[in-house]
C-alpha cells in the first residue's frame, strides 16, 4: 500500500513537471468546467423561453372570444417541452427532437422545430455538455496523459531498476493507476459539484444522479485500468499511444456509428409521409365527423336513437352533431394511437439494438446510462409525445362535449347559411378559461433508474475486464 502511494505520488510529481501533461490537465479541467457552465446557462435560458411560450399560448387560448366549440377544436393549443432538470448534465436527444406540438382536433401532430435542423452541421460533432466531455473527450485526454506512465520507465531502463530494488509489479501498476485515477477524479469534480447542487435543489432526482455519477466513475475507471495496462504491456511508449488511440476511436467514434447503421438496416422504419397515408386510409373508414350523414356513423346513429329511445336525431335532448364529433374523435384517436404506438415500438427496438452494443463498447453503455437516468433519451421523448396526446384528447373531447350539450341541433345545422343561427352557436368565452395546465414532468426517477441499471451492470463488467487486464499486465511486468 505504501509502495502504491509512493509510486502514485511520484507519477503526479512527474506529470506536474511535464509541460505537455500540465497543458493537457488544464485543458481537461477547463473543458469540463466550461461544458458544465455553458450547458447550465443554455438550459436556464431555454426553460425560461419555453415557459414564456407556454404561458403565451395558454393566455391566447383563454382569451378567445365567444365561439362555436368546434372552432376551438380547430384553433387548438400549443404545448412546449421544458427540459428535465438533469438535462444540464446530459441533454441527450433534446437537440434532435421537436420542442413544441400543435394540438388540434382530428390530428395527432408531430413535435416540430428541432434545434438540430436550425443549427449548422456542428451539432453533429457533439454537444457541449458535461456528459459528452466526460464520455468522449476525457478518456482521450487521459490517454494522452497516461499512455507513457509505465512504458516510459521501461524505455529508460528504470523499470528493471525499480523491480530490482524490490518494487512489486502489482504495486507499480496500482500506483500508476491511482495517479491516473486522480486525473479522472479531477475531471469528475465539476460533475460531482453540479450533482450536489442539483441534488439539493431537487431531492427527488438524487437516485438517478447517483446512478449518473456512479456510471461515469465506473466508465472512467475502466479507462484508467486499460491505459495503465496497455502502457505496461507495450514495448514502446509510442506503441502504447497508438494502440490506445485506436481503441478509443473504435469504442467511442466508430462503433456507435456502426450501431446506428445496424439498427437502421435491421429495423427499417417507414417515413412519416407513408404513415400519414396509411392513417388517412384508415380514417376514411372511420368517416368524416363533420358530416353527420357520413356512412361511417350510420350504426352509431342507430345506437344513439335506441339509447335515448327517440325516433329521430331532431328529438334528441342533446346536439347530435356534437355526439358525432365525440364519437369520431374517439374512433380516429384509437387509430392514431395504434399507428403511433407501432412507430414507438419500432423506434425503441432500433434504440434497443444500439443499446446492445454496450456489450462491445463501454462508451455506448455510459452514454445510454447517462441519457436514461437524466431522462433525455428516446423513451422520455415518446412519453412527452404520449402525454401531449393525452392532453390533446382530453381538451378536444371537452370541447366536443360542450358541442353536444350547449348547442341547439337546429341552429348548429343551419349555421353555415344563417347568420343568426351562427350567432346562437357561439358559446361563452368563459368555457375557454377552464383550460387545463399541461404538466409533463418526465419519467419518474425510479423508472429511469430501472432503465439505467442493466447498463450500470454492463459498465461494472467492463471495469472487471479492465482490472483483469491490469492484473495480467502486472504479472507480465513481474516476470521481467
Amino acid at each position: 500500500m505504501k509502495q502504491t502511494l509512493r509510486i502514485a505520488a511520484g507519477e503526479w510529481t512527474h506529470l506536474l513537471r511535464t509541460r505537455l501533461a500540465v497543458l493537457t490537465l488544464g485543458l481537461l479541467f477547463t473543458l469540463v468546467a466550461i461544458a458544465a457552465w455553458n450547458s447550465a446557462e443554455q438550459l436556464r435560458a431555454e426553460a425560461a423561453e419555453r415557459l414564456h411560450y407556454q404561458q403565451q399560448a395558454d393566455e391566447a387560448y383563454r382569451a378567445q372570444p365567444d365561439r362555436h366549440p368546434h372552432r376551438m377544436v380547430h384553433y387548438g393549443h400549443y404545448v412546449f417541452r421544458t427540459p428535465t432538470p438533469l438535462a444540464v448534465i446530459d441533454p441527450g436527444v433534446d437537440a434532435f427532437t421537436g420542442r413544441s406540438i400543435f394540438l388540434e382536433g382530428h390530428r395527432r401532430n408531430t413535435a416540430t422545430f428541432s434545434e438540430a435542423r436550425e443549427t449548422s452541421v456542428l451539432t453533429r460533432f457533439g454537444t457541449v455538455s458535461p456528459a459528452f466531455t466526460l464520455q468522449v473527450l476525457v478518456p482521450l485526454l487521459m490517454i494522452l496523459i497516461g499512455f507513457s506512465s509505465v512504458a516510459r520507465e521501461r524505455e529508460r531502463g528504470i523499470l528493471l531498476q525499480l523491480l530490482a530494488q524490490g518494487t512489486r509489479g502489482r504495486a507499480l501498476l496500482q500506483g500508476k493507476a491511482l495517479a491516473l485515477a486522480g486525473v479522472a477524479a479531477l475531471a469528475l469534480l465539476p460533475l460531482v459539484l453540479s450533482a450536489l447542487w442539483l441534488g439539493v435543489q431537487t431531492p427527488a432526482e438524487s437516485a438517478p444522479l447517483l446512478v449518473l455519477l456512479g456510471g461515469h466513475a465506473l466508465y472512467l475507471a475502466f479507462w484508467v485500468g486499460v491505459i495503465v495496462a496497455v502502457s505496461a504491456l507495450a514495448s514502446q511508449a509510442r506503441t502504447a499511444l497508438i494502440v490506445l488511440i485506436g481503441l478509443w476511436a473504435l469504442l467511442t467514434v466508430l462503433l456507435p456509428r456502426l450501431a446506428t447503421d445496424v439498427a437502421v438496416v435491421a429495423r427499417p422504419a417507414p417515413n412519416q409521409a407513408e404513415i400519414d397515408i396509411r392513417l388517412q386510409e384508415e380514417l376514411r373508414r372511420v368517416g368524416d365527423s363533420h358530416n353527420i350523414e357520413d356512412p361511417g356513423f350510420r350504426s352509431f346513429q342507430q345506437q344513439v336513437l335506441e339509447q335515448y329511445g327517440v325516433a329521430s336525431i331532431e328529438e334528441l335532448p342533446v346536439n347530435y352533431r356534437g355526439l358525432v364529433s365525440l364519437q369520431g374523435e374517439a374512433e380516429s384517436s384509437a387509430v392514431m394511437d395504434r399507428l403511433s404506438a407501432e412507430q414507438h415500438v419500432l423506434q425503441r427496438e432500433q434504440a434497443g439494438i444500439v443499446r446492445l452494443f454496450a456489450l462491445v463498447s463501454p462508451y455506448i453503455a455510459a452514454r445510454h446510462l447517462s441519457m436514461s437516468s437524466a431522462g433525455t433519451d428516446l423513451r422520455n421523448h415518446q412519453q412527452f409525445l404520449d402525454a401531449a396526446e393525452a392532453h390533446r384528447f382530453a381538451l378536444i373531447q371537452g370541447l366536443n362535449t360542450l358541442h353536444a350539450q350547449e348547442l341547439d341541433f337546429a341552429d348548429d345545422s343551419a349555421r353555415s347559411r344563417d347568420p343568426l343561427a351562427e350567432q346562437r352557436t357561439r358559446i361563452s368565452s368563459e368555457f375557454w378559461a377552464t383550460l387545463q395546465q399541461f404538466d409533463f414532468a418526465g419519467a419518474a426517477a425510479a423508472e429511469r433508474v430501472r432503465t439505467a441499471l442493466p447498463l450500470l451492470l454492463a459498465l461494472l463488467a467492463w471495469l472487471v475486464l479492465s482490472a483483469l487486464l491490469l492484473r495480467h499486465a502486472a504479472g507480465k511486468v513481474e516476470a521481467l
Partner: protein, 416 residues
C-alpha cells in the same frame, strides 16, 4: 538513380512495413463499408420515395373522387413533395437523417404544414450515420498520423540517420519520396472505395471529380500538418501525443467551441413564433368581418377582387383567402427564420476554415446536396409548388364553378 527508380524502392520498403499496410487496408475497408452502407441507405430512400409516390397518387384520387366541391377537394387532397438523394448522397448523408426529404402539402396555409418533421429516431440522429464523409473527416486523420508520424523520428531513434545520409546523398529527396509514398497509399485507400461506389451508382463525372479533389485536399492538408511535427527533433512519443492533440482540437474542440460561439452570435428565431402567428391570423378570421380578410387578400391578389361578394357565414373563397392571409402575415418572420439558419450556416464556414474535419464534411455534403443549403432549397421548392397549387384552385373557388373531376387532371405536378 532515376526518380522513378527511387520511388519504387521506397514503395517496396513501405510495403514491407506490415503495420502500415494493415492500417491502410483497414482504412480502405472502413471507407468501403461506409460506401456500402451509404449506398444501401440511398436505395432504401429511393424505394421509399417510389412507394410513397404511388400511395400518394392513389390516396389523392380517392380524396378528389369523393369531394363534393372544389373547396373540399383542395382541403382533402394532399400532394407529395420529395427531395431525392443525389448521385453522391451515398458518400455524405448530411442532413438527411434530421431534415425531411418527403413532405405532403395541401392548399391550406403553408406555414402550418412546412415545419412538420419526419419521424426520425432521435437516438439514431444523435450519433449520425457511418458514411464516407465521416470516415474522411474523423478517421482518415488518425490513419494518416499512424502511417506518417514516426517517418523521421523512428530512423533517428534507430540511429540510422547517418547511414541514410551516406547512402542517398540528398536526404531531403529521400524524405520527400517517403512522404509521397505514404500520401499515395492513403489516397488509394480513400479513393478506390469511393470510385467503386460511384461506378456502382453511376455518379456523374463532375460530382466524382469534385469529391476526389476534396479527398485529395484533405489528405494533403493532414500530410502537411503531420510532416511539420514529424520533422521536429522530438521523440516519436511526443510527436504522436502532439498530433493526437491537434486532431482532438480540430475534430472535436474547435467545432464545439464554434457551436457555442455561433449560438451566441446568431441566436436564431424560435420557429414556434411563426406557427403561433400564422395560427392566430387564420383563426382570428372566423370572428372578424369577412372584409377584414378579403380586402387585404384582394390587395395581393387583385385579379379576384371583382368576383361575387361573400354573403354567407361560410364560403370557401373566404376560407382560402384567410389561409393565404395567415401565410402573408407570417411571411416576414418565416423569412427571417430561414435567413437566420442560412447565416448560421455561413458562420460555420469560418469554423471550417480552421477545422479540416468540418471543412470536409461541409464540402462533401454541399457537393452531395445534403447540407443546410440543400434543405433550404427543398423548402423553397415546396413553397413554389404550394403557390402553384393554390393559384390553380383560385379560378374554381372564386368563380364558384360547379365541381368537375376532369378539371383536376391539370393539377400542378411537383418536380423535384
Amino acid at each position: 538513380m532515376t526518380a522513378l527508380h527511387s520511388l519504387r524502392r521506397e514503395a517496396a520498403l513501405f510495403v514491407r512495413n506490415r503495420s502500415s499496410i494493415a492500417a491502410l487496408l483497414l482504412l480502405a475497408l472502413l471507407a468501403g463499408l461506409a460506401i456500402g452502407l451509404g449506398h444501401s441507405e440511398v436505395q432504401r430512400q429511393l424505394a421509399s420515395i417510389e412507394r410513397v409516390r404511388a400511395l400518394d397518387a392513389t390516396e389523392r384520387e380517392a380524396a378528389l373522387a369523393s369531394a363534393p366541391d372544389f373547396g373540399d377537394a383542395a382541403y382533402a387532397a394532399f400532394h407529395l413533395t420529395w427531395n431525392p438523394p443525389s448521385d453522391l448522397a451515398f458518400a455524405a448523408m448530411g442532413q438527411r437523417d434530421i431534415a425531411p426529404w418527403m413532405l405532403r402539402v395541401r392548399a391550406l396555409a403553408l406555414e402550418g404544414q412546412i415545419h412538420e418533421t419526419d419521424s426520425f429516431n432521435p437516438e439514431l440522429s444523435l450519433t449520425g450515420r457511418f458514411d464516407y464523409a465521416f470516415v474522411m473527416a474523423f478517421l482518415l486523420p488518425l490513419f494518416a498520423i499512424l502511417v506518417m508520424y514516426d517517418m523521421v523520428s523512428a530512423e533517428r531513434e534507430a540511429g540510422r540517420i547517418p547511414l541514410l545520409v551516406a547512402s542517398s546523398g540528398a536526404v531531403h529527396r529521400l524524405w520527400a519520396l517517403r512522404a509521397l509514398v505514404r500520401v499515395l497509399g492513403l489516397l488509394l485507400a480513400c479513393l478506390l472505395p469511393l470510385w467503386l461506389g460511384a461506378l456502382l451508382v453511376g455518379t456523374s463525372a463532375a460530382s466524382l471529380s469534385g469529391a476526389s479533389v476534396i479527398v485529395l485536399l484533405n489528405v494533403l492538408v493532414w500530410a502537411a500538418v503531420i510532416l511539420v511535427f514529424a520533422f521536429r527533433p522530438w521523440s516519436s512519443a511526443v510527436i504522436a501525443t502532439s498530433l493526437s492533440g491537434v486532431w482532438l482540437a480540430t475534430a472535436l474542440i474547435l467545432p464545439l467551441a464554434g457551436k457555442v460561439a455561433i449560438d451566441r452570435l446568431e441566436p436564431g428565431i424560435d420557429g414556434a413564433q411563426i406557427a403561433l402567428l400564422q395560427r392566430e391570423t387564420v383563426n382570428d378570421a372566423w370572428d372578424l368581418p369577412k372584409q377584414a380578410t378579403l380586402l387585404p387578400f384582394f390587395a395581393s391578389h387583385p385579379e379576384w377582387a371583382d368576383t361575387a361578394p361573400v354573403t354567407q357565414p361560410f364560403h370557401w373563397k373566404w376560407y382560402y383567402a384567410f389561409q393565404q392571409r395567415g401565410d402573408e402575415v407570417a411571411a416576414e418572420l418565416s423569412q427571417a427564420y430561414r435567413a437566420a439558419i442560412a447565416r448560421r450556416d455561413a458562420l460555420t464556414g469560418w469554423v471550417a476554415a480552421v477545422s479540416p474535419p468540418v471543412a470536409v464534411q461541409r464540402a462533401l455534403q454541399s457537393l452531395a446536396g445534403t447540407d443546410v443549403q440543400a434543405s433550404l432549397a427543398y423548402d423553397a421548392r415546396i413553397r413554389a409548388f404550394h403557390e402553384s397549387l393554390r393559384r390553380f384552385y383560385y379560378p374554381f373557388l372564386f368563380n364558384e364553378e360547379p365541381y368537375r373531376l376532369e378539371a383536376l387532371r391539370d393539377l400542378p405536378q411537383f418536380e423535384p
